[in-house]
Subunit: 266 residues, 3 copies
Amino acid sequence: MSAPAVLPLSIIARELSRLRTSNPLVHLLTNEVVQEISANVLLAAGASPAMIVAEEEASSFAAMASALLVNVGTLYPARETVMRQAVLAANAAGVPWTLDPVAAGALQYRSAFCAELLGLSPAAVRGNASEILALAGSRTSVRGVDSTAGSNDALDAARQLARDTGAIVAVTGETDYITDGEQTWATPWGHAMMTRVVGTGCALSALVAAFTAQAPKRLNAVAAACALAGICGQRAQAASKGPGSFKPAFLDALYLLTPEELLEMT
Amino acid sequence: MSAPAVLPLSIIARELSRLRTSNPLVHLLTNEVVQEISANVLLAAGASPAMIVAEEEASSFAAMASALLVNVGTLYPARETVMRQAVLAANAAGVPWTLDPVAAGALQYRSAFCAELLGLSPAAVRGNASEILALAGSRTSVRGVDSTAGSNDALDAARQLARDTGAIVAVTGETDYITDGEQTWATPWGHAMMTRVVGTGCALSALVAAFTAQAPKRLNAVAAACALAGICGQRAQAASKGPGSFKPAFLDALYLLTPEELLEMT
Amino acid sequence: MSAPAVLPLSIIARELSRLRTSNPLVHLLTNEVVQEISANVLLAAGASPAMIVAEEEASSFAAMASALLVNVGTLYPARETVMRQAVLAANAAGVPWTLDPVAAGALQYRSAFCAELLGLSPAAVRGNASEILALAGSRTSVRGVDSTAGSNDALDAARQLARDTGAIVAVTGETDYITDGEQTWATPWGHAMMTRVVGTGCALSALVAAFTAQAPKRLNAVAAACALAGICGQRAQAASKGPGSFKPAFLDALYLLTPEELLEMT
């Protein structure tokens, strides 16, 4: 199979334009650590986050949101129950939902929950190579996670996971690969600072969820979210001295970037 | 009824001076997403936040704090119980408490809890137009929330809510209105960036709570909190490129602003 | 007893070098408010944080981490259970764990839990003067906490607490004292901004935990963590206008500081 093509800037521009126009309301069921940065990334990019966590409210809210994110980073049973209910309500209402399987494969409890969630028709899954390999393994009974696996191995696993679940699968790293199992985009805007600021990956998953809202072509929407985070991350890294100044610069870049500017990039 | 008068800078200066001298200890029972920014806003302005959330501690701490904030943004039953107990303990000890009714009117569970809390003598209520309209409706059996309502409608609702509950009611937006049901102040320092950074409204409610501590005239204290957030927000917006750089600039502005400087503004 | 000696820069450099090489995985069981800044401080300095909070996972994760932090800032019973289990698992696996006794002495519930935890062989304890005095009192039946106590009193309490528990005890303030009960280091890099940004003390405790991982001499490791936070805090304060710009500057300073640079300081 030939190397995946790089996502064209024209698609990123079109998807960003769509996000800014539609301003989707995104229900975030995410982990304790990254709630603020996730919400701020959505607000900066042009979506509206809402964190509704009670059993009493989560199902009805998921059904009226434009999209839902489930992130298992600080999973515990009460939150697990709410996530399951919200996913079922989203599915019943036709609201797309995204899974961020934080540390799947490394810990049994969350791995089992992620395996269950994969059977509930996620619109998108966003993880790093280890997580995607673990999820693919959990569906095909391979032995476990090779944490030193290269991106090629993760790409094959991502394709298989996409075919098995019907989700768009994004495996992110220095180069991100986004696949529906047949077609695959590469977004090559990785940068080192992303690993020095907590929540950048989780916030990207929130952005992926936002882009899935009423997307005409979901593969392009998810790939655009990854590309946008990468491009703005590179800009922020160039404009900052370290991880502290990176975060405000990243949010500013997300806010300032326009579709027109993307079309003029070379 | 004539248009509300703009809060004089001399009152803002006096109230800020009082806050800096008294350094009130504010018990924050707020939502999961905004705890850090709420605490940092209080520290920057000159108050001391404390987040004490266990049933085992919240009542006794509320009784010894200078003020209490209850924010229902990520309400769930265990936290609801703690909030109720803290409010009752605050009332018994004569500690003023402030309600931030996040998304009241949009979701039944929190709306019912907010309606209950309104019967427990809040010192202040801070919300946006939709929330204040919903709260006023919940007291008077009107049909629901008009989310497209103008500020005039919300102002009438705020006045009624203040008269019904005895609370100072602040309805915030481009112009904030702060009323005790008879007298009303306007604070016209709104700015667009406030809606692009998560927790700015919630942190303002924390600041409102801080200013209610031992306030000689509670209406002036609440209005000064709103004015301070607005003035510092405008300064931060002028000094920043986007929502990322806005937040540190906003905290710096709160820290740097002096009563003397307010008196020299025109 | 003569005044404690200032920790030599050569020791700080050596300990920082060790941290950067080993990149320890630190299990943070910390409070709701400071999770993001704690994680970001570790990432900036050169360690890897992980927040695993479920009963189903915390014990097994604590056993495979390089170090564990327990911070009781927003303690409640479910989290208390997880903390106890994680500490026992860490002890069984030989993983060092650090206690941050936030507000111990001021509130009964957490004070009792901290007293219990002190019997479970912490590797390090990091607190302010009031907290260390309270902990020492809880072990020796002295009357209570004198919140106006000077650092000399806290230093004696710290020494006693270290001898009683076997932990390295760090009492932090304008000057930090770090003691094993016999030998004591002073780190005199305090700065005012630390008290205006929420979580700086809690994040220092996370850093202390990171430095305890496989430390050849634990006293030096804990002292180096305190020194590093102080030195970078002073740099950040010099580079910032207020508490808002302090935080990114602090994280940048932690990221940029090198062992070589420390050796050239005078």
